[in-house]
């Protein structure tokens, strides 16, 4: 068991490491600084990827923090089941830890299968159970045989790394235990895997109709609005499309090695990116007709969307935005904002790979001033002032920082309630931007109180 964890943690914890020398690696992938960290643990990352599979039960093997403070808090939407809202945990006590809790875990799996009949069960190890050497792999195997339900171990102790690494652990579990375990009844004409899209606030629902119209089947979604079964037959897809996730490229790469499924990256943030992605998918599927259809679809959609955007664009034109979001999202969001006529004054490069940074730089025409390193709420608010920015676009973590600074804000975080993908999403984003920018709240709340006004 210990060994397994070691193997996993020895993998480079971020992809942007791979091209670098050992020395560079050390610098680029610094461990979090004690007393100055942000961001979740590997276990959190594993859950982000797997919990959207809502017809499977997710049992967390550990004491209470890992579940008690985290369950029922994902922005993912699904019509396949409701287990994404459930928290199942072995809730270990001191005695369990001293005497071992594998028996308890087995009973838990039996209980959940009997009572809730999930399609599958995922078991997560956490810091404490990984340290005390609980063998979730063996338990999974035994239970799967006994109960005739797939039981999948996810080795994801929080101390092994960041959320990003946890995403990979999840991918590792999928490729080793799920993908390829079942054959589909029939294979459609253009089956693809969509990887790294979690249907946050219903973003998948915004792009799904586009695929439908093109005749492309989202054969296996990983994992937004996915049922367990569809992931099992992912190996029969003709193409993997990785959306906004560096961490899951490793999964796509493994699928290529194992099943010879080519993969590509894409994004649905913004009309330009949506077009690029759809056309590239059509190209990769090797169909000229499909490509032509995709182009026509995008032409039509763009025209429609611009018509609907008409009332908003004049308000957004020339407004300055500070973007503080992670990874791939940052460059695709930049383009999306540009389409709306806005100007990005600075963008964070947090969790970004070199490719991502290159793309952000492209936006700023090579001017490194546009890049903004990691910073806390204070840095962000100061930069807002310095650049006279009108609006902050960031994750929920910074939402209340923005409100303390009384600056307009749009949330692009996991728990948000609004979806920003594809054409409908661009329209939604425009609306949200306009609503916050034109809210009378900011004028009213920045006025001095009567006793703060000096006369004379």
């Amino acid at each position: 068991m210990r060994l397994a964890i070691q193997q996993l943690t020895e993998e480079p914890s971020c992809d942007h490491n791979q091209k670098k020398t050992a020395e560079q690696k050390k610098n680029a992938c610094k461990k979090p600084t004690p007393g100055a960290t942000a961001g979740g643990c590997a276990f959190d990352g594993a859950q982000i990827v797997l919990v959207p599979i809502a017809d499977a039960a997710h049992i967390i093997h550990g004491p209470m923090t890992c579940t008690g403070q985290s369950y029922n808090n994902r922005g993912t939407r699904t019509d396949k089941g409701s287990f994404h809202q459930y928290g199942f945990t072995t809730d270990l006590s001191e005695l369990d830890i001293v005497f071992g809790a594998e028996k308890k875990l087995k009973e838990s799996v039996r209980y959940v299968v009997e009572k809730f009949s999930p399609k599958a069960v995922f078991i997560y190890s956490t810091c404490v159970t990984a340290m005390s050497g609980e063998d979730i792999g063996a338990v999974s195997k035994e239970m799967q045989e006994e109960l005739k339900v797939p039981v999948i171990p996810v080795d994801s102790p929080g101390f092994s790394g960041s959320k990003n690494l946890g995403n990979k652990f999840a991918g590792f579990s999928l490729i080793n235990h799920v993908i390829g375990t079942r054959e589909p009844e029939k294979i459609p004409m253009f089956p693809i895997n969509l990887i790294g899209e979690y249907n946050i606030a219903g973003e998948l629902y915004q792009v799904e109709p586009l695929f439908e119209e093109l005749g492309i089947t989202l054969f296996s979604k990983m994992t937004g609005n996915a049922g367990y079964d569809e992931i099992c037959h992912a190996h029969r897809s003709k193409l993997s499309v990785v959306i906004c996730s560096q961490a899951l490229i490793s999964l796509a790469r493994q699928m290529k090695d194992k099943y010879e499924i080519p993969f590509m990256e894409g994004s649905f943030y913004g009309m330009g990116e949506t077009r690029k992605t759809l056309v590239k998918i059509a190209e990769n599927l090797g169909s000229d007709i499909l490509k032509k259809r995709a182009e026509e679809l995008c032409d039509r959609k763009e025209k429609e969307t611009y018509e609907k955007l008409a009332p908003y664009l004049p308000i957004l034109k020339g407004k300055r935005v500070l973007v503080y979001t992670g990874g791939v999202k940052s460059w695709s969001v930049l383009n999306q904002l540009e389409e709306l006529g806005m100007e990005v004054v600075k963008s964070s490069t947090r969790k970004s790979t070199e490719d991502d940074i290159a793309r952000i730089l492209e936006y700023f025409e090579g001017n490194e001033d546009g890049l903004m390193p990691k910073g806390d709420g204070k840095t962000i608010l100061n930069l807002m002032k310095q650049y006279d920015a009108h609006l902050l676009l960031a994750g929920g973590r910074n939402m209340y920082n923005a409100m303390k600074g009384k600056v307009p804000f749009v949330d692009v975080n996991q728990e948000r309630h609004f979806a920003f993908a594809g054409y409908d999403g661009t329209l939604e984003l425009a609306r949200r931007l306009v609503y916050t920018l034109t809210s009378p709240v900011f004028e009213v709340t920045t006025r001095p109180a009567p006793w703060e006004v000096s006369f004379g």
Binding site: T9, K31, P32, T33, P34, G35, A36, T37, A38, G39, G40, C41, F43, D44, G62, P63, M64, T65, C66, G68, Q69, S70, Y71, N72, N73, S82, Y86, G87, F88, T89, T90, D91, L92, S93, E94, D96, I97, K104, E107, S108, R110, Y111, V112, C127, V128, M131, S132, P157, G158, F159, S160, G161, D376, G377, K378, G396, R397, N401, K404, E415
Partner: protein, 435 residues
């Protein structure tokens, strides 16, 4: 009799870990940095959780213990974490919270702090209050109570100087079940009886929205000077069973007598408090309080038509469970079908209920079939969707509602609020039924 349902795992936990409770307590203190000793996920989850609950910036940090460090078990992460927090934020003190992982690893916090003090004399100015809060024991309320106790144990002056001019100083130990509006009500009542109060912890002032500028440390809660001055108080009022342990520390260290209120919710408990204040101060009752009592009474009378024959179930940490459960059963006359809680403390075992269960929301779902409505946190939303029972949101977390922190549940203000809120739920049920 308290039941424990035989099942191997928790289904939809009601329990939050001690870490969350301890951090919440620290957030009610001025310029303290809660520092979680463990891998960074525990802090990140808790921060996310509390930020959504309070809709406020919730400063906290982690020692970010990582793989290798986990196995070797040295204290470099801890030391570096403390040093970095002092360098960056310079808090008035640090609230150091342990996790299951560091407890299993057997980290010796006392020894480690000793080595820290030896190694870094430059940080001697900043006190570190260390709390043991493994998440395989206790619940949020015990974590909260431990943090308050540890703060007092560490920061109260060793030989308090009694200052007889401060005769009218009262310590209020505010349990985790209190909302901002509760703390405000209590403070105002005591002050209007001519007393000076120090509230510990004061999450009303820090997390109630009155700090409108940007901050990196919680502000306007109980200051370290106030905590020092608590040693000079004449009396302590502990609100909630879990605060007794802290009151004991004040008694033992500073000879301050105390009175514990298991609840301040409902007419009976409110009257008890006001009687005590009248006796203690010999002062007349302020007019606004008299008016408020009349309004509370009137609200109960008006709403009682819809209370009759109703049944409810409730899930919460012990102190909140008792406060609300007791008021709704004994003073509203609504039957309690099932009460679910997370730890064995406080007075909740006195509740008249068909079932009192140490358990989770899964148990609540199973044992509340006859209930007309449910009281629980926002994690019960999916359950209430399934069962079509109205949910009145209480406790932690409430993520999908504004203003929950500014509802008063204590005193006559609380009587009125609850009579209206519960009354409205019952009234809608009656109206629905008759159509």
């Amino acid at each position: 009799m308290v039941k424990i349902i035989e099942k191997p795992l928790a289904v939809n936990p009601l329990k939050k870990s001690q870490i969350m409770g301890a951090i919440t307590a620290f957030l009610g203190m001025h310029r303290v940095m809660p520092l979680v000793h463990g891998a960074q996920g525990c802090m990140a989850f808790t921060k996310n959780f509390l930020t959504q609950h309070f809709r406020e910036v919730t400063p906290m940090q982690s020692t970010a213990v990582f793989d290798i460090a986990t196995i070797i078990g040295d204290d470099s992460n801890l030391h570096q974490g403390i040093a970095n927090v002092i360098d960056k934020q310079n808090p008035d003190f640090i609230g150091l919270v342990t996790t299951g992982m560091t407890e299993v690893r057997g980290d010796d916090m006392k020894g480690s702090m000793f080595r820290f003090r030896e190694k870094y004399p430059q940080y001697a100015e900043t006190p570190v209050v260390s709390v043991t809060t493994p998440d395989f024991k206790g619940d949020a309320e015990t974590g909260f109570a431990s943090a308050v106790s540890a703060t007092l144990a560490a920061l109260l002056p060793i030989e308090p100087v009694r200052d007889y001019r401060t005769r009218k100083l009262i310590n209020i130990l505010a349990g985790m079940h209190l909302n901002a509006a509760d703390i405000d009500w209590i403070r105002r009542v005591f002050e209007d009886f001519g007393l000076e109060v120090i509230v510990l912890p004061d999450i009303s002032s820090s997390m109630g929205g009155q700090v409108t500028r940007f901050y990196t440390l919680p502000e306007e809660g109980t200051t370290i000077d106030m905590i020092h001055r608590m040693a000079q108080a004449d009396f302590t009022i502990a609100i909630g069973g879990c605060m007794e342990q802290a009151a004991d520390i004040l008694l033992e260290k500073c000879c301050i007598p105390y009175k514990k209120f298991d609840s301040l919710t409902g007419i009976t408990y409110s009257d008890e408090l006001i009687s005590w204040l009248m006796d203690y101060t010999g002062r007349p009752v302020p007019k606004w309080l008299k008016v408020q009592r009349q309004r509370g009474v009137d609200a109960l009378l008006d709403a009682h038509f819809s209370f009759g024959g109703k049944v409810f179930s409730i899930a919460a940490e012990p102190d909140l469970l008792y406060s609300l459960g007791n008021f709704i059963t004994r003073e509203m006359g609504i039957k309690l079908e099932c009460a679910v809680t997370t730890a064995r403390s406080g007075a909740f075992e006195e509740l008249e209920a068909e079932n009192i269960i140490m358990g989770d929301l899964g148990d609540l779902e199973e044992y509340s079939k006859k209930s007309d409505f449910i009281l629980a946190n926002s994690n019960a939303v999916p359950m209430c969707h399934r069962t079509h029972q109205p949910l009145y949101k209480i406790g932690f977390p409430i993520k999908d509602q504004f203003g929950h922190f500014h509802r008063a549940f204590v005193g006559y203000a609380g009587v009125m609020q609850l009579a209206f809120d519960i009354g409205n739920i019952c009234l809608s049920l009656d109206i629905e039924k008759s159509h």
